[in-house]
């Protein structure tokens, strides 16, 4: 069935097109059917292709499909072509499957919205571009998907465009990611000038033979690609757009944070892992960026009041974990955490969306409370998601994925004790803010009454995702606990095996116990501080340090002071167009000539005759004296 690969990409695009063109004229039910159906069918086709892929002989043979030639200019001939290997299959699985669940959830969630068809049109487009990104066989098509995802995030974050703040958030997301994209496209230029092709597999095969390890050009290219990755994946220092992206409807947040968009950076690094392995400095940088990000974002999440902002910062933090894994060469661990994270993070976002929706758009956690009795389904699924996020040991998928990253951060040949400690600290913070959120939202005194209860279509995705957040971890268990390696074997068809420097079950046991203890300690601390404690609903007075964390380590203020204000200052200086003076000067000189010449055109015949006569005199004079 691999020949149907193109349909996976084409269906969301087709759905988007139909809804964009005919959305106003078809009823809501049909809109929902088209919107949800296109992604669901994509997911089903993906399942069939995935089964075929697993049973291929030999297992893990990449599927390649060329639809048509896109451009052909002097040797540069990228095609509309798809390449499916285990990495892209993982991503396609998450995108279509989680995407379909989010779409299903969106149908009742957005039912009363004015732009219902517009919403599904954007969502389908988003899925379509993301699939294009992960399935592209060349960098140009990947870049098309990359920019398309950026466009869709802009459209969806600014979905409620009537509020200027949402439009601002959308523009911010678009602009900040553009910084990274520019770096990435320069990196692609370098790749093209060196290899005369943008075909990903060709470049990856040729790179180790042409570029020496640690050579300058490899480092430059890897750095530029990393720039693109941190822009899209909201890593320090380009993470500021993601908390503002919460202006979007909750399902969009789920989609952006779990299945699409922010994981594009992870995909890019995993896909071009050869280039990063050729540049060890850059790979170390990836790990450092991840480590810094997971702490920075985690600290910020601790001080948020908005339930969605907690989740936003936690997303940044969790992607930081993935970057750490990528940085230490634990490729399969990164992708495993990506998948598990997609499950529990979309679950948490959808749960938070339900809570916000039934409480009449209340985002402040301090105004919630006591909801566990009133919304049991949402509560239990949310709890499972929270446990997975906090990586509670043994039972949650998050434990197995995150534990592997933390372990590899220490045990890998590129790992270090510092990364390990950072990971543990992050785990502690994660558990703390997660259960702070749970306790504030679902326990304590009820401060608001739910307006209604979410229906089946909204609960079903939560249940499915909760099951996956719980059971998804068992496909990959550590060596010392069952040693199940389904996922890593699958990934290792494409990506290299992690080189471990430290081995031995004793060390691993100790590390796991420490990680488990840290998570539970975070939970316990949250219980002690936040469980059943009365908190004022009003915004508290924050100390400067609290405000620092609350505002995301003042990155916005830093950029405002460091970049925006100098530019505003310069433009204020240049308000009168100093540089343009030169050009207006040229124009006015031309105008002067014009006026001069116009003055000679006085309409007097004798004047013209005189000019002729003078011309004759001058011509003769020149002829005589030359």
């Amino acid at each position: 069935m691999p020949e149907l690969l193109w349909l996976i990409v084409a269906l969301p695009f087709a759905g988007s097109l139909v809804l964009a063109l005919a959305g106003k004229h078809i009823p809501r039910l049909a809109t929902a059917m088209i919107g949800v159906g296109s992604v669901t069918i994509s997911a089903i086709i993906m399942l069939f292709i995935g089964v075929d892929f697993l049973h291929a002989n030999p297992a893990g043979t990449p599927v390649h499909q060329t639809l048509w030639q896109w451009i052909n200019v002097s040797g540069f001939s990228p095609g509309i072509a798809f390449h499916l290997d285990s990495v892209s299959l993982t991503f396609v699985f998450v995108i279509t499957f989680v995407g379909a669940l989010i779409h299903l959830y969106s149908a009742p969630f957005m039912w009363k919205e004015e732009g219902f068809a517009r919403f599904f049109s954007y969502m389908n487009l988003f899925i379509g571009f993301m699939l294009l990104l992960v399935l592209a066989d060349n960098f140009l098509l990947l870049y098309l998907g990359w920019e398309g995802v950026g466009l869709c995030s802009y459209l969806l974050i600014g979905f409620w465009y009537k509020d200027p703040a949402n439009g601002y958030a959308a523009r911010k997301a678009f602009t900040v990611t553009r910084v990274g994209d520019t770096a990435m496209v320069i990196g692609l230029f370098i790749l093209f000038t060196n290899y005369h092709t943008l075909n990903i597999q060709d470049i990856l095969q040729a790179a180790p033979h042409t570029w020496g390890p640690g050579s300058g050009i490899a480092i430059t290219t890897a750095f530029l690609l990393l720039g693109g990755a941190i822009g899209k994946s909201a890593q320090v220092p380009l993470q500021t757009w993601l908390p503002d992206a919460m202006a979007a409807p909750s399902p969009v947040s789920a989609l952006i944070h779990a299945a699409t968009m922010v994981t594009a950076g992870v995909y890019l690094i995993a896909r071009t892992h050869v280039l990063f392995e050729l540049a060890p400095i850059v790979q170390t940088t990836v790990a450092i960026i991840g480590a810094v990000t997971l702490i920075v974002a985690g600290m910020s999440a601790l001080y948020q009041h908005d339930i969605k902002k907690v989740l936003a910062y936690s997303t940044i933090s969790q992607i930081g974990y993935m970057f750490v894994a990528l940085g230490v060469g634990a490729w399969s661990a990164a992708l495993f955490h990506f998948m598990i994270h997609a499950f529990f993070k979309s679950l948490l976002f959808l749960g938070a969306g339900s809570v916000i929706a039934v409480l009449n758009n209340e985002h402040n956690m301090f105004k919630m409370g006591g909801l566990w009795k009133k919304m049991p389904a949402v509560f239990w699924t949310f709890l499972i998601g929270a446990c997975a996020l906090s990586a509670l040991p043994l039972i949650t998928a998050g434990f197995y994925s995150k534990d592997e990253i933390i372990w590899q951060a220490y045990a890998s040949d590129k790992g270090s004790i510092v990364l390990w400690i950072t990971g543990l600290a992050g785990a502690f913070i994660t558990a703390l803010y997660t259960f702070r959120m749970v306790f504030l939202t679902f326990f304590g005194n009820a401060k608001a009454e739910p307006a209604y209860r979410p229906g089946v279509a909204m609960t079903l995705p939560l249940v499915v995702l909760a099951f996956l957040s719980f059971a998804g971890g068992f496909i990959q268990l550590p060596d010392n606990m069952g040693h199940v390696t389904l996922f890593s074997q699958f990934i290792h068809h494409t990506l290299p095996v992690t080189v471990t420097a430290t081995s031995g079950h004793a060390a691993e046991w100790i590390a796991q116990v420490i990680a488990a203890v840290v998570s539970i300690a975070g939970l316990a601390l949250a219980y002690r501080i936040y469980y059943n404690k009365p908190f004022p609903a009003a915004e508290p007075v924050r100390s400067p340090i609290q405000r620092f964390f609350f505002q995301g380590w003042d990155f916005d203020q830093l950029y405002d002071k460091g970049i925006v204000q100098p530019i505003v200052f310069l433009s204020r200086i240049d308000k009168n167009d100093i540089i343009d003076r030169f050009y207006t000067g040229l124009a006015s000189i031309a105008g002067l000539f014009n006026r001069g010449l116009a003055a000679t055109q006085n309409g007097k015949l004798r004047w013209y005759a005189m000019a002729l006569g003078i011309g004759a005199v001058i011509t003769l004079t020149i002829l005589l004296y030359t």
Binding site: G613, I614, V617, L624
Partner: protein
């Protein structure tokens, strides 16, 4: 023979100057005719009797008659003379005079070069001119024919009294001129 040339030349120059400086159009025209006749004498002396005849017949005859007709049509008369006096201030001659003087000086300078041919005057018969005209210069003759045809058509078109045409709904209105 030589003195004839000088006399004719002096007459031509004087007549031309009188023509240019005159105020009465008809008088100026007569001076111009005198100048053309004097030049035609020179043509005759230079062995070009055919051209001398053409000069008299076409220039001094036909073309000058055209001028006469136009002056008659305009019929400015004594008011025209008065007006000419107003228009012709001495200061208007300065600029043109300087330019002409410089141009003349330069032409003289060019002509001052030594090794001059005397103007021999073997009479060139009209037949020779005609033979040359319709062999070597036939193309230019054709072009000249075009030019004359264009001149005829243009003169006819421009010389018509302009009919003021109005749209049929606007016919009631009188032309404001």
């Amino acid at each position: 023979m030589n003195s004839l040339f000088y006399i004719a030349a002096i007459i031509a120059i004087i007549a031309t100057i009188r023509m240019v400086t005159g105020t009465n159009a008809v008088h100026s025209l007569l001076y111009l005719i005198v100048s053309l006749l004097a030049v035609s004498v020179i043509f005759f002396l230079l062995g070009a009797p055919f051209i001398a005849a053409l000069e008299v017949i076409i220039y001094a005859g036909a073309i000058m008659v055209l001028f006469v007709f136009v002056i008659m049509m305009l019929n400015t008369g004594s008011t025209g003379v008065k007006k000419e006096h107003e228009l012709l201030k001495p200061s208007t001659w300065i600029g043109p005079g300087i330019i002409s003087a410089i141009l003349f000086g330069e032409m003289l300078y060019i002509l001052m070069r030594p090794a001059s041919h005397p103007m021999t005057s073997p009479v060139i018969q009209p037949a020779a001119v005609g033979a040359l005209l319709f062999s070597k210069y036939i193309l230019i003759v054709e072009l000249a024919a075009f030019l004359l045809a264009a001149g005829v058509i243009g003169a006819y078109h421009l010389g018509r009294k302009e009919k003021l045409s109005y749209h049929r709904y606007l016919k009631k209105e009188e032309p404001t001129t």
